[in-house]
Symmetry: C2
Subunit: 354 residues, 2 copies
């Protein structure tokens, strides 16, 4: 059975589909509608969460169990439709430019996946590949030329950059309006400030929320443990969860007894980048687990010489959780779908389409 699950997971890498592997159960799911809409709520948005006033009130009941999800497919088919409509109505399509510096195999693989995903939904894509030892200014110039190109609506500088390059400077070069990765400090600040809206939300963080919301999980009042605090996942995710009125605890490498925090969590989201960090004993019965980790583990017997493992000990977790995302095939495909969605949104904004 263990071997089967792990084989299924590997196959899921190729066919990005069911994203919340449900280990259960009856449809105990119910929605809460305790709050009547107020004036302020009109500013609400699905991803950014409702704008609720802080009125202190007594605790609510325990978390429901989510129904299954087809999140990446749902998002992609929506994009295909909208790209088609854009082409029909104004003869334009969204364009994504990817800047890849150096020869890292994992980065090359990620970029290839992104480009392929663009092709599948009708988004035009362009890759600028630069050598490891090229001068920083050349990368800046490449980014600048994409900034000025009106057919490009999203620019993505693939991380990590070579050691000798200044990541801050290169990310700063990306125009705010094309920052589909959402790493610009102004986007991050507008994500943190609950009465504002960023132009873009970092893809993996948005993917986690998409997965939870589309699975019918009501985040308000849930205790969520976020493991990891990178700008790519943990930081924007913790900010986004707070906009959804979850109670967030952020665990990192300096946290003492992280398992004490995860054991109290209704939802555990791990993006630490450490294989098998989260054990079954870290989780309370019925919790929901989102595993963002994708850690390559050497394995001479597998096709590419390695396989991918999440941060969570999947076999152990399965005995405890109500739902968990597999690795690969869980958050990854949704993250790519969100990148496409961010690019589409950017193009719509550029062409004045609502």
């Amino acid at each position: 059975m263990r071997a089967l699950v792990s084989r299924i997971n590997r196959e899921l890498a190729a066919t990005p589909r069911p994203s919340l592997a449900l280990k259960s159960l009856g449809s105990r799911f119910s929605h809460h509608h305790h709050d009547s809409p107020t004036k302020k709520e009109k500013k609400s948005s699905y991803i950014l969460g409702p704008d609720l006033p802080d009125i202190w009130s007594p605790p609510r009941s325990t978390p429901p169990c989510p129904p299954p999800s087809q999140t990446p497919d749902e998002i992609r088919s929506g994009i295909v439709k909208e790209v088609y409509q854009m082409k029909e109505s104004i003869s334009k399509v969204p364009g994504l430019a990817v800047v890849l510096v150096g020869q890292r195999r994992d980065s090359q693989t990620y970029v290839r996946h992104k480009i392929k995903a663009c092709q599948e939904v009708g988004i035009r894509s362009l890759t600028a590949e630069l050598p490891d030892d090229c001068p920083e200014d050349e990368v800046v110039n490449t980014v600048s030329s994409f900034n000025e190109d009106p057919s490009i609506h999203g620019i993505l500088v693939q991380l990590p950059l070579p050691q000798h390059m200044n990541e801050e400077k290169l990310l700063n070069a990306v125009s705010l309006e094309k920052d589909v990765d959402g790493f610009h400090p102004l986007n991050m600040g507008n994500l943190a400030l609950r009465d504002r809206e960023p132009l873009f939300i970092p893809c993996a963080a948005k993917a986690c929320i998409e997965l939870l919301l589309r699975s019918g999980v009501d985040l308000k009042g849930k205790n969520v443990a976020v493991i990891g605090r990178s700008k790519v996942v943990g930081l924007p995710l913790s900010l986004l969860l707070q906009r959804h009125h979850a109670t967030v605890s952020i665990i990192h490498a300096f946290t003492k007894n992280p398992e004490d925090i995860t054991r109290g969590a209704d939802i555990v989201i791990s993006a630490a980048g450490v294989a098998n960090l989260v054990r079954g004993s870290w989780l309370k019965k019925g919790t929901i687990v989102i595993d963002v980790g994708t850690n390559p583990i050497e394995d001479p017997s597998s096709e590419h010489g390695y396989y991918l493992s999440g941060d969570v000990c999947y076999e152990e977790a399965l005995q405890v959780v109500s739902a968990i995302t597999p690795v690969p095939g869980g958050v990854g495909p949704v993250t790519i779908a969100v990148l496409l969605s961010n690019t589409l949104d950017s193009a719509k904004r550029a062409y004045g389409l609502s």
Copy 2:
């Protein structure tokens, strides 16, 4: 004894001095120096915390007990000296402009305190008072004129604004270089991103960290419960604590069983704005409490018809904690000292002084 403590607290409002009321004890205090300095640590700063790589390692020991603190006096005397030096060397002093819209008595009181504090340290201050019903554009024009005035280095729009005004628009009008309140989204984003540095950190959040650091508390690895998530305190504080490698849980009005989280915390910082929200039973033995709440409680017998209460039930907490800040006289005076310090920093930046 209770009456005495509460009288002492009220007197502290007038003479802003000892800020961490120590309810103990032997000098069990010790510093940790587990990490040898790395290249990256050179980018460190006192308030923003050391830039440490996320290397997962086993837990450390329990929190030490802090020595007493004279934080606001220390900060102010440093400012007096630097303002004097600035005047001597370049014949300039820092300038702070306060924009006050409407007639709220509490806002008028706060502004009066700030102006008085400026006078005491030699910072030039200017208040623009506008009527409650003035057009929004008039406030924008006032802010813009301060933006253009080279003798003004900090601009503060006193919140809350009258209901009919757009807070976002008016705060946006403040130039990034003069945003001494640190509410600009770019400042907030640069605070959130641990490899960047904001020009300003919101005063109350910075005050809490000043209090803890100057009291010798090592934040790394501590479990901190932050109650409240406003842009004024809770949000920037949770970001700043994470830069210091504390493990942060953010409690808000939608949190279920907040006492379960606070009971696990080595440090509890409350900025909810709810009098007596935090009871003694919420706190574990020996915890450190910072009370940012300043809630006016009607009291016909007192001079102004009200007295100020914190968020924490002080009498109950005293039985449990190792240290707690009183209200008034705790975080408040430090916050004002930090505002002066932010204004001085801005002036130094404007005049190219290091």
